[in-house]
Symmetry: C2
Subunit: 126 residues, 2 copies
């Protein structure tokens, strides 16, 4: 285990994700920062948090990474196997409280899952 340090900027990332209703892109996190932070810093903070299991991300249909705090999504298992939904209208990606049954795959080692559904979310549906 490497030594880690507590920093203001890491705390800000946690705060921002804690108060977020949806997953957030790096760009969105940067905009939500109360102070100026370099984007590389945010990328690396999230990378460390993901390794520690504090955070998980989904890759949207747009190819962007969207991050969310891990609350209780890895209590019973290593993978964050709930569904995510990306709205084609507002582009927001949301964690949904639906778990997917992960199939057994012979000779495959499953380490992570990313389940994404795409369409129109409840806020954008007219």
């Amino acid at each position: 285990m490497k030594k880690t340090r507590n920093t203001q900027k890491q705390d800000y990332v946690i705060d921002i994700l804690t108060n977020a209703k949806h997953t957030m892109s790096v760009e969105a996190i940067l905009k939500a920062m109360p102070i100026k932070v370099n984007k590389t810093t945010v990328y690396r903070i999230l990378e460390r948090f993901a390794e520690k299991g504090k955070v998980h991300f989904v890759t949207g249909e747009d190819g962007k990474a969207y991050y969310a705090l891990c609350n209780d999504c890895n209590v019973n298992h290593e993978m964050h196997n709930h569904i995510h939904f990306q709205c084609k209208s507002c582009k927001k990606v949301t964690c949904l409280p639906y778990e997917i049954e992960v199939p057994e795959l012979k000779n495959f080692e499953i380490q992570e899952t990313q389940f994404l559904m795409i369409g129109i979310c409840d806020m954008c549906i007219s």
Copy 2:
């Protein structure tokens, strides 16, 4: 309906995807081309094929789009709701013959699904 034309380059894309064992990125398709083709052309060919339902794609964990021919994955339904697997070692993305049960989401309109599992594939497992 727009008029469409049959072209040599579209045929090459179909040939390449037909003979592919895995999904392919645009880069890989370009490399597999027997003649020089512009990347914009391949992007647009795949875009047209995706609209027609000839092809579907998954966004890998790496944010890249991986394309596959639709064989019988949309016979009974509009969505291509089978699982995909991306290997962290060889990076290949494969369509797997496992269908996911799509949950009902109140007030959400589901248009597409992308189910991705990540780990080590059968070829790379030692």
